[in-house]
């Protein structure tokens, strides 16, 4: 049951090898686009290495972009895993990287549930699980994702992550994931949620 496993902490405290690494050991894979970063994360994890998506430091940033934090000691293996599969600009030592916001808030309305992840919100109907609204965010994939998601059932809708290009899209995917978990966990539990955060 989803709710029994759901940890309502304000930050993602999940054990993460990369998170425990000293700064000197951390490296960043820098990409031109968010899609490439997301693709690389999947490849690196599938290859059995630890990594996480983070904000690049100001000196490397371009806008709505992501970087992949890795163990720099494994740089060779990372390059081998990514070679020919992902386009990236380079791998650099870490310097002052921020962590992607991982706060989620759930609000109950009479007939609807609103899930807010970072700056993005998704609203679905308790009866039927229909996505009725998405809001928040200012990146250019957000109006498109709104069109693609509203009117679809949570259980049948495409994942925002598969269509998103930007950080706002990634945050909407987090809202979607929580909403789907709520829906699949049974709406009888949603009433117990109130307004809470993790």
């Amino acid at each position: 049951m989803f709710w029994k496993n759901f940890n309502f902490s304000l930050t993602d405290k999940a054990p993460d090898k990369a998170a425990r690494l000293g700064d000197a050991e951390k490296g960043l894979v820098i990409f031109d686009t968010v899609e490439e970063a997301i693709k690389a994360e999947k490849i690196i994890k599938a290859a059995g290495y630890t990594c996480k998506l983070v904000a690049p430091p100001p000196r490397l940033r371009k806008g709505c972009d992501l970087a992949l934090e890795i163990n720099l000691m494994e740089q060779g293996a990372m390059e081998k895993a990514l070679q020919g599969k992902v386009i990236y600009n380079g791998i650099h030592p870490l310097n002052g990287v921020a962590e992607l916001l991982n706060a989620v808030k759930v609000t109950n309305y009479d007939e609807y549930v609103m899930v807010k992840a970072g700056n993005m919100k998704l609203v679905f109907a308790k009866k039927g699980g229909l996505i009725v609204n998405t809001s928040g965010g200012g990146c250019p994939d957000i109006p498109y994702l709104n069109i693609m998601l509203v009117g679809q059932k949570l259980s049948e809708a495409p994942r925002p992550r598969e269509m998103a290009h930007t950080l706002c899209g990634l945050m909407l995917d987090r809202a979607f994931e929580v909403a789907l978990n709520i829906w699949e966990g049974g709406m009888e539990h949603a009433a117990d949620r109130g307004n809470r955060s993790r």
């Binding site: 806008g63 916001l101 700056n119 609204n133 998405t134 809001s135 200012g138």
Partner: protein
């Protein structure tokens, strides 16, 4: 000229520049004869700005639009067009909206705007606001219209995007807005005037809250995609009409809430329903809110 720039969620939509008109169906908009898809975002902003300019008897907004679903292609077309043509266009108000936050383009546009003999009033929301803040240009703007999450981003000296704000800032609800507003001004993350959209709307300048708008209280508005866009569209139009920045912001906050109330919005309502009620809301209230009682 009120010039509004933003993306359209359709990759096939070419760079389009022109005056905005209502299509025959009464719902969608046309620019240079090309239909703008009905959606949250810049389309909702344009619809609202058009409703207000029409009500006030002003020239309709001009738009610079291009298709972009996240790759930044349309964003680059829009910004490059503005950089090249802003002096020729010479708008009184330039309102920058949904786009990919590309910092170098924002910096180039800012330099181009500085060359315009009659400097336009600058408004930014959404991705354009992110780019303005992240490139250190926030104080050069006349108005930002962030929501609570975006305010936290503006108040975070390290953040380059609202998805990367510190958790302690995200925890703060809208009641912490005065504190965040002060901080945003302190770190040069704020425009001259701020309209913070939320369950309570705050209008601020020089680091201080000038006005709180919390009535009517319509919590369902937070659920609806596009209700922030309607406020930004309204305030752009009122500023274009000659209202002071602060007054335009206060009126827009009140009108958005009142439109939500009379529309009886639910969490499933579409922003178009709210926009349709705006002429009625302005007719019934603008005189008492602003002293403008001629219509």
């Amino acid at each position: 000229m009120l010039l509004i720039a933003g993306i359209v969620p359709d990759n096939e939509y070419p760079l389009t520049v022109g005056k905005v008109t209502q299509a025959e169906d009464g719902r969608s908009l046309l620019t240079d004869g090309r239909r703008i898809p009905c959606a949250q975002g810049t389309a909702a902003m344009l619809s609202t700005a058009l409703a207000v300019t029409k009500y006030l008897g002003l020239e309709a907004p001009y738009a610079v639009l291009a298709g972009d679903t996240g790759s930044g292609t349309g964003t680059r077309q829009i910004y490059n067009y503005l950089i090249k043509n802003i002096t020729k266009l010479s708008p009184q108000v330039l309102s920058l909206h949904y786009c990919l936050p590309i910092l170098t383009l924002m910096q180039q546009l800012h330099l181009a705007v500085r060359e315009v003999p009659q400097k336009p009033l600058l408004i930014a929301d959404a991705g354009s606001m992110y780019a303005a803040k992240a490139s250190g240009l926030a104080p050069q703007f006349d108005l930002f219209t962030p929501d609570a999450s975006e305010l936290a981003f503006l108040a975070d000296p390290e953040a380059i995007h609202p998805a990367y704000i510190s958790n302690y800032l995200f925890e703060g609800d809208i009641t912490k807005a005065p504190e965040f507003i002060q901080q945003a001004y302190r770190i040069n993350g704020a425009a001259k005037v701020m309209l913070v959209k939320g369950s309570v709307d705050y209008i601020a300048a020089h680091g201080q809250v000038l006005e709180k708008v919390d009535e009517p209280n319509v919590p369902e508005l937070e659920c609806m995609g596009g209700t922030g866009d309607t406020i930004t569209g309204m305030v752009s139009a009122f500023i274009y009409a000659g209202f002071a920045l602060e007054q335009a912001a206060i009126i827009s906050a009140k009108a958005n809430r009142t439109a939500g109330l009379v529309t009886k919005v639910t969490p499933a309502s579409h922003v178009g329903e709210l926009i349709q009620q705006l002429p009625r809301v302005l007719k019934e209230n603008l005189c008492s809110w602003s002293g403008l009682c001629t219509r």
